[in-house]
Symmetry: C3
Subunit: 189 residues, 3 copies
């Protein structure tokens, strides 16, 4: 009788471990859709227009034949390429203490509507965050929200992958804009 | 006798589950090489040459000191940077109804042979596909086929990763080319 | 007595397999921090300055309004965009036989300090390595070492992801620099 019980309890334990290990294995394969990390930031872009060299955080560095480097080109700025080093803040105030820098480039790439393509990084070097998040993707900026890819990360964001949802939070003439960035990482380490 | 049999069957069952759980675990690690999604498209690029502003889908926006923005530079176009918004079609006909837009940039980066580097997205917004696929990589375009990376995706292509095999399907002077893109995703969601 | 021993050994075996299968399962989920592949290279960049067209491996193709394409711009070269096709070597000697080419672009994107953003590929076509590794990320080049992302790969580096640690190995005026690249892949196939 004792032996039977022992065997029975073995059997139950066995099943349990079997099930749990299978579950663990499959979570390694099928990615869960809930972000493992979520971060919200704003960044602020002030384009150089020939007069604002002190405040400007970005500058046109490439333009089509019909454009120049102090005025955004016609045809929805098609072909304008901009390099930027923008402050990142936790709220939507340009004058808040920056928590990092958004650095890289964007280019306008549609003639009939404002649409951009972005390649840039969020660079952090504070007690809160150390490391970088790398982004790439299309930004059809007339849409209320649009998604780009998190293609990698370093430091605190080692091997990160995910999605960043962009929202234009402010747009003032052709000089200043502010983007809200809702970062959802689905691969964290 | 009964007990021995019970123990033996336990043992066999045990081995079986052990093996299967190990297999499940390793498939979470070693990616299977068969694509989870495969898509084939064409895209069409008509470069602005100073005269074709109506039809052009791309424009030179950066060039080396010896180049300009209406004629491709000497030395295999080294340094020419082009922004594009090209129609994507299902077949190789420029006049087929586009199913999306290929948007981003390419640059020529070798002096002795035609070679490019690409950063762009396929942007879809139809009943068939909604979302974007983001690409980056070297395009040694004199090779019959060449592979670039799918570095991410959004919408229907959420978290996609994989390879895109490019093939030049047509090349007419220095104004028009057509690429066939065979997209093989190895990570889908 | 024999039976008890048998059961005990069962139990021990059971625990062992349980533990090992759990470990296998979790490596599928939690990435191990040891690289699955590690590679070390150097690459060499000689910027075109109007006089060195024979030796130059890179050229300024975009610049801010205050810059030009033969002299690096003021304000820490902010806005200068450079296209390159640099030889990759195994040691730090510019004249060693190249094992591949580093091709793509970098841009300077900070006004008060030298900082760059990189998008490029290592392209290999030898018996040793065939395929490409694609990189993107911020390069705060005044730091002794800095990490960028490996966002993908093709051929021998199919589906690769990881980190590349850059170190400036030499910097001569504004014409030549040499980077050491320590590539650590955490996803290999």
């Amino acid at each position: 009788m004792e032996l039977k019980n022992l065997i029975l309890s073995f059997f139950l334990l066995f099943l349990l471990v079997g099930i749990s290990s299978t579950t663990a294995a499959s979570t390694g394969k099928i990615k869960v859709r809930r972000p493992c990390k979520r971060l919200m930031f704003y960044f602020h872009d002030i384009i150089y227009n020939g007069k604002n060299s002190k405040n400007a955080t970005s500058a046109i560095v490439g333009a089509p034949a019909w454009g120049n480097r102090t005025i955004m080109a016609g045809q929805s700025h098609f072909g304008d390429m901009v390099v930027f080093d923008d402050p990142i803040t936790l709220d939507n105030n340009l004058h808040s203490t920056p928590v990092g820098r958004a650095q890289g480039f964007y280019l306008y790439d549609q003639k009939d509507i404002f649409t951009a393509w972005l390649g840039f990084s969020f660079v952090f070097n504070s007690t809160r965050h150390k490391g970088s998040i790398n982004f790439a993707g299309a930004d059809p900026l007339m849409n209320k929200t649009r998604d780009i890819s998190v293609v990698g990360g370093t430091g605190d964001f080692f091997m990160a992958r995910g999605i960043a949802t962009l929202m234009t939070d402010a747009f003032e003439g052709e000089v200043y804009f502010r983007l809200r960035v809702d970062i959802k990482l689905y691969e964290c380490c």
